[in-house]
């Protein structure tokens, strides 16, 4: 066992303190930034989930946003005036994860023999099917309320705390986004630990083995069918959790939030960060969540200051910079910004 010395614990303490105080620092800049951070954390969940499927098991999934949708609609339907049911969060969040898990297996089962491009096409279709269903399941029975989406969704309430309401505790004002931030932080910690542990386990190694060489993996006695389904199921359940929290935080869901573009964005986070490496994927998700927002807030003032008027719409510039950044990354760091190194260092210290 490796000895953990005081610089390590000091570092942990510093990171923890920063994370705990962050929302207050952010709300000093602008309340919107706390909300942006919360969405960024949700994207970290999604990217970590997709990382299991794409990064570890090497199964290219272009319809991942479907599981996000399943989680979000589970929450939206079971905790809103739409059906007038208001289930408690401790029941819906796990249920959303479980339903997403089932959806993952449903997608995984027929696609077991597919790889690469072919799998990508089928998963892309699956993502679209889910979205189209959500769009059209409003007649003859109104289940999803179609493109209008579901509004006035209950927020999270746990142990008597209403997360949608602001309150003052010990003289410190806690707004709704700040309260959600802490919930997401705890969830993030749990999901992170799950990912790190899975990556370094018998199943995690089997996933990577399938990615590296499926035939050799079979010859090693790995039941590739079950292990692949497990990857789909695990990845999907993280998407379900992210979806549930998304519905609770936004209070509104509609099919528009679950378009192909979102799947591509999540995939870009995984690829940009470094497929297979949990830390790289987190960095990728953070980067791709924050940089566009930063641009949104800086592009307009800068242009006005320089030219006295707006020449390029922030949205246009955003996509331009985004595309260029991806191309440059793939050219100079094809394995991602922070590629997987199969914890070589850590283990040589241990021996």
């Amino acid at each position: 066992m490796r000895q953990l010395r005081w610089p390590y614990w000091l570092g942990v303490l510093l990171v923890a303190a920063t994370l705990l105080l962050l929302p207050f620092a952010l709300s000093a800049i602008g309340t919107a930034w706390v909300r942006i951070t919360n969405l960024a954390i949700l994207f970290v969940f999604l990217a970590l989930g997709l990382n299991i499927v794409v990064g570890m098991a090497g199964l290219l999934d272009l319809g991942y946003v479907a599981f996000y949708a399943v989680g979000a609609y589970t929450w939206a339907l079971l905790a809103s005036p739409h059906f007038d049911v208001h289930w408690p969060a401790w029941a819906i969040l796990p249920l959303g994860a479980a339903l997403a898990c089932v959806a993952g297996v449903l997608l995984g089962a027929p696609t077991l023999r597919l790889r690469g491009d072919y799998l990508a096409i089928v998963t892309l279709g699956f993502g679209e099917i889910v979205r189209i269903f959500l769009n059209n399941l409003s007649a003859p029975f109104n289940i999803t309320n179609g493109p209008k989406g579901i509004t006035r969704i209950d927020g999270l309430s746990l142990a008597g705390i209403q997360f949608n309401a602001s309150e003052t505790f010990l003289g410190i004002p806690f707004t709704a986004p700040i309260k959600y931030y802490y919930v997401l932080l705890i969830l993030l910690l749990v999901i992170l630990i799950i990912n790190l542990r899975l990556a370094d386990s018998r199943i995690g190694r089997a996933w990577v083995a399938i990615r590296e060489d499926e035939i050799a993996a079979k010859a090693c006695g790995i039941d590739t069918r079950n292990v692949k389904l497990l990857a789909f199921a695990m990845g999907a359940s993280f998407g379900g959790i992210a979806g549930g929290m998304f519905a609770a935080i936004q209070g509104f869901v509609s099919p528009e939030s679950f378009v192909l573009n979102e799947s591509i964005m999540i995939l870009a986070m995984v690829v940009l960060g470094g497929m297979g490496n949990v830390w790289g994927v987190i960095a990728g998700a953070m980067l791709l969540s924050f940089v566009p927002e930063l641009l949104r807030y800086t592009v307009e003032p800068i242009q006005r200051a320089l030219f006295g008027r707006m020449l390029i719409e922030p949205e246009v510039l955003r996509m331009l910079i985004f595309g260029a950044a991806l191309v440059l990354t793939m050219r100079f760091r094809p394995a991602g910004l922070w590629p997987e190194k199969r914890h070589k260092q850590e283990m040589s210290v241990a021996s």
Binding site: R202, V208, A217, G221, R342, M347
Partner: protein, 258 residues
């Protein structure tokens, strides 16, 4: 105990109109080194792929230690006791040598997702045992110094050794080696011979495909010869090297005539 370890009964494999294996039967006894030779395209690797379940065979069955193998599930064949290597080394290039061997031990473990997430005592014990066993196997094949290097960064000879270590991790009843000496220099081949002989001395049954005749003749106890998907001869190395059909298959018609 019955001395027959592996029995292939009338295996036939067709690829479209081509018959890659034509009713091939052979029997491998416990404790022997059995060689499978034949000209290029004779069906040797097809035979390997059929008995390990990677190709679905059209006819025939395979019995291992008195049990019929379910050839439709390669991982079951592996768990039942046939471990193999590949003609063109197939390692998990982006995993360390140690992890490669640990993957080879997958079928010996039971830990699932839940116990991995909770890091239960059982899971930790299994991981530690797996790691120790993998390390021991790396030492056995002589590459423990490279344990934490990525498999893709190993030299060719070491990659071959690693592949054998990974196969041994299954604790197989039968070790099937597909051209283990291919691409090796004389020193590496000699070291490989000693490794295989050592394994055999420790009680392991070995089936090998090889092109290097001197290597096969010196190492194997019995040899089968395949030609155009048919078994044309079987016997001790000395008999095989005198067999007229074998010489014809290798050197062409007329060569067997004095």
């Amino acid at each position: 105990m019955n001395s027959v370890l592996l029995e292939a009964r009338k295996l036939t494999k067709r690829f479209g109109g081509v018959i890659a294996l034509k009713s091939v039967s052979l029997t491998i006894h416990r404790g022997e080194i059995y060689g499978l030779i034949g000209p290029n395209g004779a069906g040797k690797t097809t035979f390997f792929n059929v008995i390990t379940g990677l190709y679905a065979c059209d006819e025939g069955e395979v019995w291992l230690a008195g049990e019929r193998l379910d050839l439709s599930r390669p991982h079951r064949v592996a768990a039942a006791g046939i471990a193999r290597t590949f003609q063109n080394v197939r390692l998990f290039a982006n995993m360390t040598a140690l992890e490669n061997v640990m993957v080879g031990r997958h079928a010996k473990g039971r830990a699932g997702v839940i116990s991995a997430i909770l890091r239960t005592r059982g899971e930790r014990g299994e991981e530690a045992a797996m790691r120790a066993k993998a390390m021991e196997l790396l030492r056995y094949v002589g590459i423990e110094r490279r344990a934490y290097d990525l498999a893709g960064h190993l030299s060719y000879g070491d990659q071959r050794r690693l592949e054998i270590a990974r196969a041994l991790a299954l604790e197989p009843k039968l070790l099937a080696l597909d051209e283990p000496a291919a691409g090796m220099n004389a020193t590496e081949t000699e070291a490989l011979r000693q490794l295989i002989e050592g394994l055999n001395r420790d009680g392991l049954t070995v089936l090998l495909i090889e092109h290097d005749m001197r290597f096969v003749m010196g190492l194997c106890h019995r040899i089968a010869v395949l030609d155009y998907g048919e078994k044309i001869a079987e016997g001790a190395p000395a008999e095989i090297s005198r067999d007229a059909r074998v010489i014809e298959a290798y050197l062409g018609q007329g060569a067997a005539c004095p």
